[in-house]
């Protein structure tokens, strides 16, 4: 565990930690994949139980 922390301390600070969206480096990255169609998304959404929102009740927080 301490070895990993040491690595973190020694890791060079990137001079350009954030770049333009879609750029390279340590900044924002959009996976280099062709946008799939929406079927998978729709499948995932159809799996959502529509009753879950009705059941979902919370105590009030901060």
């Amino acid at each position: 565990m301490m070895t990993r922390a040491e690595e973190r301390v020694r890791r060079p600070v990137p001079t350009e930690p954030l770049t333009r969206p879609g750029g390279d480096g340590d900044g924002p990255s959009k996976p280099d994949v062709k946008r799939p169609d929406t079927n998978e998304l729709l499948k995932r959404m159809r799996r959502i139980d529509p009753e879950q929102a009705r059941r979902y009740r919370q105590r009030s927080g901060q």
Partner: protein, 509 residues
């Protein structure tokens, strides 16, 4: 950027077959299942003072939500306050505990935006691991949602903390921050189906999860009568030198980009204030304005100010332009925030749908629209609320935000490696490193701990470690502490008068 930052997130908790009456016990059960090493039950509340107001007084009582008070009266719990809080301090310097029946993860103090994003995401992973362990233990479905509402009128918070110099006058701070906080939802909102206060069927979708719950422009409250500008005066650092801006009006962002932009722009506005700049205008009715912007996602977002009517985008540009003039070229993170802030404001004006890969409220609306078109239902169909909730499900196998990331439809900023690192380790350049090292190395010697103080039992005596003045970059001190061979050397390093006088070079820039 060079300011102590943090995000506290209260997670929504669903346990199959249980209701609000059991929520405190379920939150405790979940936290007791935490599979990560931690110091437990030692949080030191003695330095906390949530009733102290920046305006120079202390309120007698904090307001409570009357519905919630009724639940508490009708369903008392048999735990002590300490048992109910179930405090954990983790090896990464974070705090994990039960806050008003919500498992809350408070990131360790960070200095760099990229560290903060990694630690915010690490919090999701840590809570997910707790939920899975608890689910296995009780044999019922356990789900956690990183959002701010149950869609039935109960809200819970995602708060941001920013340390700033106390020399910034309170009136100047409040008057410049309030217009900014009222309007930043146009890029920081998480999106919400419906309206929870004064239901209005003409508003099927709004920008902000939290706007329905604003009741005052400013006050010290957090549980009820929530304000846009919170006046709590609890710096968690030396009171005479620092304030902490405690932002409670924001939404829980799933998008890393939105979180970064939200925190980055707010940091720059504080930089402006410390540089002597003020916005020099005020919004006539901030609460009404925030709610009208939120409830009109395709509107012009007009804001009535003492200087006339302007759009929320142009109001944000006032802050942006001042920051560009003063801070462009200062460092890479600042330049990223300035560039993306400008890009986002321009796109919100010309083609907001292009921001569906960056901003939560637009990404979520595009998802809902896709479903509505496919299934032949309208945006105010009750099923939409379930989809809204599912967007915030932190389980990557089920959450809709995670489905977008999986399919390459959301831009991400941090890496899996950084998140894994953040689950175990604190940032090396803030006082959180000292807290994390104590938990990693000397967990049984920690007598008490909080944001600004640790009491260690180093053998025959208790030693008080004061972190309140360690607000600079402490990487050099962290290196020396990591090299300490035992607790005596560790404590001696912390008690040396040289420790705070040798800040890392970057902290002096």
């Amino acid at each position: 950027m060079n300011r102590l930052l943090g995000i506290e997130t209260e997670y929504g908790l669903y346990v199959e077959g249980r209701g609000v009456a059991e929520q405190v016990m379920e939150a405790v059960g979940l936290l007791r299942s935490c599979p990560f090493p931690a110091v437990k039950g030692c949080w030191d509340y003695r330095l906390e003072d949530p009733r102290r107001d920046m305006r120079g007084f202390r309120v007698e009582h904090l307001a409570v939500d009357p519905n919630d008070a009724q639940i508490e009266r009708e369903h008392p719990i048999s735990l002590s306050e300490r048992e109910a809080r179930c405090d954990h301090v983790l090896t990464n310097g974070a705090r994990l505990y039960n806050d008003h029946a919500h498992p809350e993860y408070a990131t360790p103090e960070c200095r760099r935006l990229m560290d903060l994003i990694a630690h915010d995401k690490a919090g999701e992973r840590i809570l997910l691991a707790c939920a899975r362990a608890y689910q296995e233990k009780i044999g019922a479905t356990v789900k956690l949602y990183k959002n701010n509402t149950d869609y039935h009128g109960s809200s819970y918070g995602t708060h941001e903390s920013y340390l700033l110099k106390r020399e910034v006058n309170f009136d100047v701070l409040a008057s410049t921050m309030t217009p900014f906080l009222t309007t930043r939802q146009i890029y920081a909102g998480a999106g919400k189906v419906g309206v929870e206060v004064n239901p209005n069927p003409r508003v099927p979708y709004q920008i902000s999860q939290r706007a329905d719950f604003y009741m005052d422009t400013m006050n010290v409250e957090t549980l009820y009568r929530r304000p846009i500008f919170n006046t709590r005066d609890e710096p968690h650092a030396r009171m005479r030198e620092y304030r902490r801006l405690h932002v409670i009006c924001g939404d829980a962002n799933m998008s890393e980009y939105a979180t970064t932009l939200k925190v980055g722009t707010t940091t720059l506005v504080l930089d402006l204030l410390e540089d002597g700049w003020t916005v020099n205008l005020f919004i006539v009715d901030p609460v009404r304005t925030a709610q009208s912007i939120s409830r009109d996602p395709d509107g012009k977002w007009l804001v009535e100010t003492d200087k006339g009517v302007m759009s929320a985008i142009d109001l944000q540009r006032r802050y942006l332009q001042a920051a560009q003039q003063r801070f462009a070229g200062r460092d890479a993170e600042t330049d990223w925030v300035l560039r993306e802030w400008e890009t986002v404001l321009n796109l919100l004006e010309t083609d907001p749908e292009l921001l569906g890969d960056r901003l939560d409220w637009i990404a979520k609306r595009q998802l809902l629209s896709l479903f509505a078109e496919s299934e032949g239902v309208s945006l105010d169909d009750p099923a939409m609320i379930a989809l809204d909730l599912a967007y915030h499900d932190i389980d990557p196998a089920e959450g809709l935000y995670h489905a977008l990331v999986e399919q390459g439809r959301m831009q991400t900023l941090t890496s899996e490696e950084a998140v894994q690192q953040a689950i175990q380790h604190p940032p090396a350049d803030t006082r959180a490193a000292i807290r994390g090292l104590c938990v990693q190395r000397y967990p049984s010697q920690v007598e008490s701990v909080n944001w600004e103080r640790i009491i260690l039992n180093s053998g025959e005596q208790s030693v008080r470690i004061d972190l309140s003045q360690l607000t600079g970059d402490i990487r050099d001190l962290t290196r020396r502490l990591m090299a300490a061979s035992d607790i005596t050397e560790f404590v001696n390093l912390l008690q040396s008068p040289r420790r705070a006088s040798e800040p890392h070079k970057e902290a002096q820039q």
